[in-house]
Symmetry: C2
């Protein structure tokens, strides 16, 4: 088979670009940092949306929609927030042919405008918690962009909630972190994630506490896959989100925000892809089974139709390819590139013996299976290969996670994956040094792996890595 992609071992960033182009996932758009997400890429994102949305609804948050444009003045109300986002804003100065009295920015995130409305909607403790979410596009002017991973405009969900107490806000942010994000990443994306707390330096602009989920890509670099934030009373004070408590007194609410984005598509590509293309986890895959007519004749089309139908009836997302005018090799290469988990090949020769060939993307294995047993073999393979991808990602991570006791040791080991270093041996000075060498503290965890309530807890472990 001709080489389609630059091998990962030769040039990982080039492999990433190649696979996005060849699998027709996305392209660079005309305005700086914009991207066109093509149907193959968008279908993957739609599946992510469906699965994350289910979990968000289970966490009782309600979807809604706030405006794209935010008055510039809103951003300025929370000092750290504007400092963080001002350099990245796209500003609309002309509307309907006229210079605007007040410029409007395209939302880089929506804490400010949502804060403004929360203040109107919340009167008493009975209105709390207020649990909102929106699926939206946001825009942050980025100088160095990379498809899916870092683009000016990107798609995400942003959750925004208000609570009566700090404890309630914290519990909710943790619930989102674990029950929505971690559950989705582990069980659907098949990516093991380190869940921890960001250092002060890496905190979201305006937050008091930021939590993160970090995945390890197949080049040994970490990817921040999602974050959730306690905003304390910062935005509540800036936007006057107050409520009459059950104690009869006026209080400021405690707010949170949390998001995952199209960046996860990049993470899925880099955590599972191989030299032949994507390997999409079966539970995520928009196409789980790809039924290919290799060559027409002798009942092949009929058998393909019937397997297609049986798989559909079994709840499998299936695609039928009868394009026998396109060379088989090209279609097979495309199927590998796009990472369809299972391919069912039907040709007259096999079929004469009552068989079809089942090819599993996860390991490239091929097996002849009788027509009658095909549907069951496919559903079994999907189940097994979801687990196999997770196991393989976990094994990779374990092989690329080391322990260090000094910063120097950690910085060297961080060239090849995660390093666990006692936070006491690093600290903020160590973090500065690490950053200068292209390594960052991805997060802090407790010795038992759980998420700390504060960066000051004794005995914390820092995860260091190079990152996207």
């Amino acid at each position: 088979m001709a080489r389609v992609l630059t091998p990962q071992s030769e040039d990982f960033p080039r492999w990433y670009q190649d696979v996005i182009a060849k699998a027709e996932l996305a392209e660079t758009g005309p305005v700086r940092g914009s991207q066109v997400i093509r149907p193959t890429g968008w279908a993957i994102w739609e599946r992510m949306v469906a699965e994350v949305d289910l979990r968000i609804k289970d966490a009782d948050a309600e979807n809604c929609s706030f405006p794209l444009l935010i008055p510039e003045s809103y951003l300025k109300r929370e000092a750290e927030h504007v400092e963080g986002f001002a350099p990245e804003l796209a500003v609309v100065t002309i509307g309907g042919g006229k210079e605007l009295e007040e410029p409007a920015v395209i939302r880089p995130t929506s804490e400010t405008v949502i804060g403004e409305f929360m203040a109107k909607w919340i009167q008493s403790y009975r209105d709390l918690p207020l649990l909102l979410n929106q699926w939206a596009n946001v825009l942050r002017w980025e100088m160095r962009t990379r498809l899916f991973l870092r683009s000016a405009e990107f798609h995400w969900q942003e959750g925004h909630t208000a609570h009566a107490t700090r404890e309630d806000a914290r519990d909710y942010v943790r619930r989102i972190l674990h029950d929505v994000y971690e559950d989705f990443m582990v069980n659907i994306l098949a990516i093991p994630v380190v869940v921890g707390r960001k250092t002060v330096r890496e905190r979201f602009a305006g937050a008091t506490d930021t939590y993160t989920l970090e995945g390890l890509m197949r080049d040994g670099k970490a990817l921040q896959m999602g974050t959730s934030h306690e905003l304390g009373q910062n935005f509540a004070k800036a936007f006057d989100i107050g409520f009459l408590g059950s104690d009869g007194k006026q209080h400021h609410a405690w707010t949170t925000s949390w998001g995952v984005s199209t960046r996860m598509v990049g993470g899925m590509i880099m955590a599972h892809g191989d030299d032949n293309g994507l390997r999409v986890p079966p539970r995520l895959a928009p196409v789980q089974a790809y039924v290919m007519v290799v060559k027409d004749g002798e009942g092949v089309s009929e058998a393909a139709q019937s397997i297609h139908k049986a798989l559909k009836a079994a709840g499998v997302r299936v695609k039928l390819d009868t394009r026998t005018d396109v060379p088989f090799g090209r279609r097979a290469v495309d199927a590998e590139l796009r990472g369809y988990p299972v391919r069912i090949e039907l040709g007259p020769r096999d079929l004469k013996e009552g068989n079809v060939t089942i090819v599993r993307r996860v390991d490239g294995s091929k097996a002849a299976v009788s027509v009658d047993a095909a549907a069951k073999a496919v559903t079994d393979a999907l189940e097994a290969d979801q687990q196999a991808l997770y196991d393989s990602a976990l094994a990779y991570r374990e092989a690329h996670t080391s322990d260090a006791t000094t910063l120097a040791e950690a910085l060297e080991a961080a060239q090849d994956g995660f390093v666990r270093l006692p936070w006491d041996a690093c600290g903020e000075d160590g973090e500065t040094q690490a950053n200068q060498q292209g390594v960052s503290v991805r997060c802090l965890v407790r010795a038992d792996g759980s998420v700390p309530d504060s960066g000051d807890e004794p005995g914390l472990i820092a995860y260091l890595a190079r990152s996207y």
Copy 2:
């Protein structure tokens, strides 16, 4: 019951504003013409998206995502298009703190940027048809805005396709018109629509043929619920969308575009709502059945839980309200306002006799039903009331559609609904006169009600009305 809304007969626009506010559907946003769509309103839109998206996928179009920002120069390539949209553009002139070399506009619609990419992706007739769709936000600076009906930013789907022949383009646009839009509006929204052809004056900027679906609201005004356009070779020439034909020669493609938007939420409100609030058609409703505990005690909660469970198992979208600390009257008024199709009330008194009360929003009727029969009674009511709403909207339209033979007669009758006037008795001059009096030609149809291929066909009937 205290009056919650301004009655429709007293002041319809005020009723519309009232119901949107009281049912917590949406609010005006801070930047001119923007809107905040609250969870109750957004849930309705999400259901519309789900149903329309199913139909679009059945029509073989694939979802994707093009950028929000379009280089200003793109808009200028198609002369009529830029003339139509230039006055409505929001322009980004600053990005990342710097003046941009070329300003970017927020998409008012995406023919231009999609045309640019179609030109790259299409090489030969084998690449056609190319059937794309995106769910997106767009922005058109509007001077007179009204929630859902006319807002600067709105949400929609925009389909964009390219075909090898004019016939193929036309067939596809008609397929979308009937199989996607008309089917959805009639069978899910329960709104009868007049499907026809726009006059030259009402055509989309850059189209050769525009088709429309027009609904009649309960104030006798028409609402354009969706449109589909043949763009001829206008955009193909402007963006050089060419292909090598099966004849070995180079051709320009024939393109189409088509869209429905959050405006349909406004249409649903105004076609079905009454003086007590929304009446959401059961097949659309995010909450189809609302199980209310009137008063606790004597097994009421248990019975409510069990009915909730039975309805869920029957595939009904159901919401359980156990807030007995909130007055019953207020909760009942809220349920009416939000238009939940069926309400199941449970109190100790009824339950002692083994009954619950089923209240149907469509006509306010109440019936005592035994607990065991409740689930079946609800599903029967949902089925019947979907039809009842359609029948009622159709009866309203029939009562408010008249025939005229002269323009003068038509202009008078158009104060109270649709008027059918022979196009020969109107013509473009008549259309100008009508416009001056606040009446427009909504569309042209054939005498048998079918959609004409051209505005020049003999014997066409014009539908005139006041409109949104």
